[in-house]
Amino acid sequence: MTVLSLSKALNEGMRKAMEDDPKVLIMGEDVGKLGGVFRVTDGLQKDFGDDRVIDTPLAESGIIGTAIGLALRGFRPVCEIQFDGFVFPAADQIITQLAKMPMRSLGAIKLPIVVRIPCGGGIGAVEHHSESPESYFTHTAGLRVVACSNPLDAYSMIQQAISSDDPVIFFEPKRRYWEKAEVDTGTTDWWTPFDQASVVRQGTDLTLVAYGPMVKTCLEVAAAAAEEGRSLEVIDLRSLNPLDTPRLMDSVRRTGRVVIVHEAPVYSGFGAELAARITEQCFYHLEAPVLRVGGFSTPYPPSKLEEHYLPDLDRVLDAVDRAYAY
């Protein structure tokens, strides 16, 4: 057992993947000597060389476009997009090429590329450094979209993402980079498949659905609600595409109440997809409408206001109250 922060767990996971497969490459801005602005790739260039840990020009489309070329040549690139808000220059390559080229080739080629994106707010950053762009990618067929929420998943999921033959958009909750946990790096026995959801707290009365940074918030909500005698179940989706529908619906059928929590704007957010599917598949089990808590339909605000924008303990508890009130 080793105590690892979430960022160090990612680092160790990538290190393991690079040791296991010489075709694994790291690419991104400042990922080399600096080790990335969040130090997630710290030390990897020193140990694996600058041919495998590549400091790229500052051009996100270039990162993804050349990663595609490297994958066509048999490599497995792991690309770092420095901040969520900087993924948009790469959106064309991700959406028109990365997601679609395998189908275009009728299966002749594979693109085992991981696009790591530090996401979400809560760190007091300037504009474009706090966004949650997951829905743009869950809406793009051909991509797998996953989000880790804790060091254990960070360690195991990054390795599963790298070994997947499909392109994976890998969201990392940047405000949780410094969360620590004991991680057993000696075995894979405890790993959960990276397209499965996890019930991270069991309960009987209401299901909180979250992923990435909001999982911790929801666990805090469940603990607070328990003091009021309410039994909340918390599901960490882990994978947004594909969605682990059976585990989600099983929980909802048991509890009958659902509150979905994400940092992204509620309107057209990923929660809308969840709410629609839950309503369709669990209609007769529901005691209350499916409720959503998330960002407002505004651009991400200046950091002095972000505590009001981001779902927190009280806003989620408020939704829980409303769900109980039906």
Partner: protein, 363 residues
């Protein structure tokens, strides 16, 4: 206020040419080529056959058998010259108009028609042919080629990458990013820009104030302009650029100066934006006629040879046409194939639901 368009321009552009439109061989100090009569006849055959394939595809579109077609008419020499410069270990990244390069990479012409017929998005195996799939988003493939070339650097491979794009694409961010990357990583890649003067309706002046090949120097690698209707010159300059790339000298930008004799695609009407006299002027520079004239003058071929090639072209055209019409339509459930390589619950669910829905009609 009058803008001085010559600001930033240097000396008039030089054109590498080895065969004049009249079929005369000319010398060039930096580039030469020594072709046997057999090789010249073979190039002529390539040019004629790909033009025939192209004309056949236009006809198929006019008859409703293809949804659309992007004609290569006028660009045969640029494509055959550069395509015949490739070795087996080189990898080519085309746009959607490189039917001549596809021919050089032994891609069955019928397979090119699949995406224009709506049967698939790309029907050949890019690994088998070292010829990537057609890329429709303008310029995207330049980055793929540079990444592929960086892969060659890392796995010690022997080949180089060549990427095709047009004058319109030269304005794209991806193309400019690919120049940056190729330059700083010294990637073994050749940028082959077919400047056919028109990006649908926009003339080259809407893309650049300087000759396109000169862009390369700003990125730190050589660029040159070649007569894109001269198959000898295109072959010579591409061979040199590929050899440079393979030997670690880095990228080259080749601007093949040519002309799109047809419409952008079969949905386009060029009479709305360009004058007939321009087309007439370029007809005199036809890429096939000059090789024919050269073969005649050099007594490398007789009428019997030209007749045989024409007959072969007709036979090929008929064969491609027949097999295009025989191409099976895809089945409804094929929609779900190859989206992911590994099992994917959502795709499985939707496939099963759609299959059940379809079965409802069969009862």
């Amino acid at each position: 206020m009058t803008v001085d368009a010559s600001r930033g321009a240097e000396a008039p552009p030089e054109l590498v040419q080895l065969l004049t439109p009249e079929g005369e061989r000319v010398e060039h100090p930096d580039y030469d080529i020594d072709l046997t009569p057999e090789e010249v006849r073979s190039l002529y055959r390539d040019l004629v056959l790909v033009r025939r394939i192209d004309l056949g595809a236009v006809a198929l579109q006019r008859q409703g058998e293809l949804g659309i077609w992007a004609s290569l008419l006028g660009q045969e020499a640029a494509q055959i010259g550069s395509g015949r410069a490739l070795t087996d270990s080189d990898m080519a990244f085309p746009t959607y108009r490189e039917h001549g390069v596809a021919w050089c990479r032994d891609v069955d012409p019928v397979k090119l028609l699949g995406l224009f017929r709506g049967v698939n998005h790309g029907g050949w195996d890019p690994v088998e042919h070292n010829f990537h799939l057609y890329t429709i988003v303008i310029g995207s493939q330049t980055l793929h080629a540079v990444g592929y070339a960086m892969g060659i650097q890392r796995d010690g491979g022997e080949g180089a990458a060549i990427v095709y794009f047009g004058d319109g694409a030269s304005s794209q961010g991806d193309v400019n990013e690919s120049f940056v990357w190729a330059s700083v990583f010294n990637a073994p890649v050749v940028f082959f820009c077919q400047n056919n003067q028109w990006a649908i309706s926009e003339p080259i002046e809407k893309q650049s104030r300087i000759p396109l090949y000169r862009r390369a120097s700003g990125f730190g690698f050589p660029g040159l302009r070649v007569d894109g209707n001269d198959v000898f010159a295109c072959l010579a300059v591409t061979r040199k650029a590929l050899a440079d790339a393979r030997s670690g000298q880095g990228p080259t930008l080749i601007e093949a100066f040519t002309y799109r004799m047809g419409a952008h695609t079969t949905t386009d009407d060029p009479t709305r934006y360009r004058v007939a006299s321009e087309l007439e002027a370029w007809k005199l520079k036809d890429p096939i006629e000059r090789v024919k004239a050269y073969l005649f003058k050099q007594e490398m071929a007789d009428q019997e040879f030209f007749d045989a090639i024409d007959a072969e072209a007709e036979q090929l055209g008929a064969d491609v046409r027949r097999r295009c019409l025989e191409m099976p339509d895809p089945q409804p459930l094929d929609i779900f194939d190859h989206v992911y390589r590994e099992p994917h619950a959502l795709i499985d669910e939707e496939r099963a639901q759609f299959a059940a829905y379809l079965e409802g009609f069969e009862a």
